[in-house]
Amino acid sequence: MMERFITLLASGLSLGAVYALVSLGFVLVFKSTRVLNLAMGEFLMIGTYIGYFLITHLGLPFIPALLIVAAVMGSLGLFVHYGVMRNLVGRPFFAIVLVTIGIAIIIRGIILVVAGPIERPRMQGLSSNIVNIGGAQVEIYNFIILGAALVLVLGFYLFFRSSRLGLHMRAVAENLQASSAMGISPDRIYALAWFISLAMAGAGGVFFGHYTAAIDLNIAAIGIRAAPAAIVGGLDSVEGAIVGGLIVGTLEQMGAGYFGADYRDIIPFLILTIMLYVKPAGLFGSPELVRI
């Protein structure tokens, strides 16, 4: 009983860490550009596939592969901003959401052409030795994923709180006009937000590629299931994304473990529905003030 709980908790926390990365990507882009990026799962999927290619095919070790994926995905983020999103400033938000859906569809099509619909085994870049905690057998990569994701998130948090660029990002998020009057280029800040967001998604993809049972197009669902994580934490809160990710990941894994795998998809959305009714702004988010 206890062993099962510990196993589920460990795998739930590492899943939650992936959610935290993805929802941090969500929140970052939303906070600065007010774009809800529904293609996040597909971006994560690109990260997984590139990571799979680097680690399983080329035999690269974990950390260089992670860095390469993050860099590639970051550049893709710049491309998304300068190629597409920049032309959409000021459009109704549903139009922009649909554009991200369009991007998601493009990515699905391209990945189907390049990689095909075949399932691939998970990556083996991390040690899968088993440690024994209180009688439970837990693979060690769960802790590595959790730790690495937390390091990334904390690194970003420090950057966001105390570096000059981070200050600029917060300024743009808080008041666009005032910050651009003070000499900050919102365009470049938006590009930076996309860069970091997709780099996070890519890193999340590499982590998830070690965690998931099989790599195929279904892993894009992570992006959709990370949306509840972002809402639980609060859509405009960086701390919230982390807490929300861990909560949703753990509860999802527990639910799937105790009730059956069929419940996996609906648990995050149950949490989301409850949260939207109780506290739409999320745990850490600031309530939205609407002008009449």
Binding site: L36, V84, N87, L88, R91, F93, F94, A95, I96, V97, L98, V99, I101, G102, I103, A104, I105, I106, I107, R108, G109, I110, L112, V113, A221, I224, A227, P228, I231, L235, D262, Y263, D265, I266, P268, F269, L270, L272, T273, L276, Y277, P280, V290, I292
Partner: protein
């Protein structure tokens, strides 16, 4: 502008077809809609090997999808209630029709209105978050509805059908119906040609209903809610009532189109409703054009027609024909093309195909001056 007549009384103002060009178009389209299936059904060989045979299926599928797309457009385009619960409602319609049709053996003509009524009730439930939330919170809240519906759908399938698909038997027109009597058991609607004549009136009536809804005071209220719901409540529109109403109407039609599509395709299984389904309808209304019935028609026709069309071009063009790559990945390439089109349309011309159509029309209407 001497050709444009001014409206002089209320009867003229209330007409659906107002101007002479519109009347000409209406007659042309009616002739086309009535004539085309006879041509297609009689094995007419088109020039350049155009695959007409496949088109009757495409037409039927688009006609069913038009209902759903128009209802989705009514909700998202006309009332501004951004909902992604669409595929969930299609699933709902399938569950209801599967329960009453194949399982309990009720007649198709009873099941279909029943899916509308239950769909309207489901719409009330879906509207509950819409009363509290708007914009992107509503979008995320409705995103979950697909997953809840899919969960119930899987449970329903496994419980009642095991792991085989739901098989819908062909509906039939009853024996007592004049002219269409085929003897014992009535006239079974068992081929594409007969389905066309079944689906076409249903689609036409649904579109007429929805376009009339937009014209009524409720429709105006929807537009006011879209513009700004708090402000609309100050001018006497009840946003709560409008939202409930639009969700009811839209859900009723979406659920009905799900049932109709299930009957037409005659088998539905677990894999019939992937998450992609919601996105498919988003593709339709974006490419067709927001907030217009015409947009839904164009969008659905394009969504189902374009793959056949692209396929035809590929087969008949000498160089493309020999590229194996295009053949073996045709559905994936179609998917990517749709994605590109969505992004392109939204970035370049946000009103989609129906907007392009309007521009073409106004170009010709003002011809010597539009050059």
């Amino acid at each position: 502008m001497a050709r444009e007549k001014f409206i002089t009384d209320y009867r003229q103002d209330m007409r659906i077809i107002r101007t002479r060009p519109q009347r000409v178009w209406a007659i042309l389209i009616t002739v086309l809609l009535v004539g085309l299936p006879f041509l297609l059904n009689n094995g007419w060989t088109a020039p350049l090997n155009f695959p007409w045979v496949a088109w009757l299926t495409v037409l039927n599928l688009s006609l069913t999808a038009i209902i759903g797309a128009a209802a989705f457009n009514l909700l998202v385009g006309n009332t501004g209630q951004v909902s992604l619960a669409h595929a969930g409602l299609l699933i709902f319609g399938t569950i209801i029709s599967g329960l009453f049709g194949p399982l309990w053996g009720w007649n198709f003509w009873i099941v279909l209105p029943l899916t509308m009524i239950t769909g309207a009730l489901a719409g009330v439930v879906i509207a509950l978050p819409a009363l509290r939330l708007k914009g992107l919170y509503l979008l995320l809240a409705t995103l979950g509805i697909y997953y809840f519906a899919y969960f119930v759908y899987k449970w329903f399938l496994v419980r009642n059908f095991g792991f085989i698909p739901i098989i819908y038997s062909f509906p039939s027109i009853p024996e007592w119906f004049p002219w269409l009597n085929e003897g014992e058991g009535g006239l079974a609607i068992n081929n594409n040609f007969r389905w066309y004549w079944t689906i076409l009136p249903i689609t036409a009536l649904s579109l007429l209903f929805m376009s009339n809804v937009i014209r009524t005071s409720e429709g105006r209220a929807f537009a006011a809610v879209k513009a700004r719901d708090t402000a609309s409540s100050l001018v006497g529109v009840s946003p709560v009532k409008s939202k409930l109403l639009v969700f009811m109407v839209s859900s009723a039609f979406v659920s009905m189109s799900g049932a109709l599509q299930s009957y037409f395709l005659s088998a539905r299984e677990e894999a019939s409703y992937p998450f992609q389904t919601t996105l498919d309808y988003a593709i339709m209304i974006v490419l067709g054009g927001f907030s217009s019935i015409l947009g839904a028609v164009f969008g659905a026709l394009f969504f189902y027609g374009a793959p056949v069309w692209i396929d035809w071009i590929r087969q008949e063009t000498p160089i493309l024909r020999d590229i194996n790559f295009l053949y073996s990945y045709k559905s994936e390439i179609n998917l990517a093309v749709f994605g590109f089109l969505i992004v392109f349309v939204l970035v370049r011309s946000p009103d989609g195909l129906s907007g392009a159509w309007k521009r073409v029309k106004s170009y010709f209407a003002k011809w010597p001056y539009s050059l």
